[in-house]
Symmetry: C2
Subunit: 218 residues, 2 copies
């Protein structure tokens, strides 16, 4: 029984996905993650991460037998390659400073075999940032959020409360006015350190556990 | 006829996805992108981006009628929220400098209404970087790749050639030895500028067109 990832290319036809998922379920396999998208050459591409695959060869043979399926490829999962994601939201000078700190720290971890990605969207405005926080639940592999700004509260605070409730997510905020610091797991004054600590907090190898800290403000 | 995004929560049961996709196709709707994942509270969550939806209310009603479906939510697509993605790959001091340049430039564009994300994975080693380049085709919304290192060629060059062939993707390389500069669309010596130019190259508002340049090395 193995966890594997598959990319299936098919000529874009309604119903092919339907047939493929039915085939996968008939093998008693769980789909843990899937991506569907259309490539520019008008082929459809479907990426699946599958759990508890007993007979890989038979599965691939069966999928290949479906009409309109062009190719099936087995490879490492996106989790194996891009790993855990830290999302940095905010605007101005601070957002790139947080990212620089996180990237430098992730480089040190990844060089020793981990996989941590640092994903940033520079955004300003209460509504825009709140909407992006809400959408985090729809992004795969996210383990931490860093809020890099100088004034965040209101709708952003509500969105963070909701996303923390529904997902296992560490939230780090820069030290700022606006109410966000009341609900963040960590409040960090220096943006570079905020980025570094986000990586330390989700790393498998660091001996840093947010829950064991006596204070959450630095 | 509208393009919409839906998040459907269901109790994780094999076959629910199958029933949902069948329902969507029965409405003669195209699925342009889908994500499936399991939340920590053991609910399954499925995110769909749908094209040419005629009757949203009827579609939602029909999906809600499927056994094990807990909730259906309509919202903006990830493309509307997180927008186009630039992926930065490489290690050491240069990767965070490229990211800082790209983030500062994306901040300037996003503040005027665009949505550009800067996603970075610090990685070293020919095999690791080549594998991450190959996996780009399985990531959604990627429009540009920046290779931030001091020696890249061999398997990385082959992976970049393949990914460029299969996808609409602008590839920017730092000026370095190793063969990667032979196939990159742009070769930039300064890492900050490489990040800035990656944003300019994919932006809707910038008047910068790589194809119109007389030289591709700066």
């Amino acid at each position: 029984m193995k966890n594997i990832a598959l990319t299936i290319k098919s000529y874009e036809k309604k119903g092919v996905l339907d047939k493929i998922t039915k085939m996968i379920f008939s093998h008693d396999i769980n789909i843990s993650y899937a991506n569907i998208f259309i490539e520019n050459n008008e082929l459809g591409s479907i990426y699946f991460e599958l759990e508890q695959v007993k007979n890989i060869d038979k599965l691939i043979e069966d999928i290949k037998s479906i009409n309109h399926v062009k190719s099936v490829e087995v490879h490492d999962s996106l989790n194996d390659i891009y790993g855990k994601r830290i999302i940095i939201l905010g605007g101005g000078a601070q957002v790139s400073q947080v990212a620089a700190g996180a990237i430098a720290e992730a480089d040190r971890h990844n060089i020793r075999g981990e996989r941590i990605s640092i994903d940033t969207i520079p955004l300003v405005g209460e509504e825009n940032v709140a909407e992006a926080v809400n959408a985090l639940a729809r992004l795969p592999r996210v383990q931490a959020l860093v809020l890099a700004g100088s004034l965040m509260g209101g709708e952003i605070k509500k969105a963070v409360e909701k996303v923390k409730e529904d997902n296992d997510l560490i939230v780090i905020s820069l030290n700022m006015p606006g109410g966000i610091t009341e609900i963040a797991d960590l409040i960090i004054t220096d943006p570079t350190q905020a980025g570094v600590m986000a990586v330390m907090a989700i790393s498998d190898t660091a001996t840093f556990d947010i829950k064991k800290l006596k204070s959450n403000k630095f």
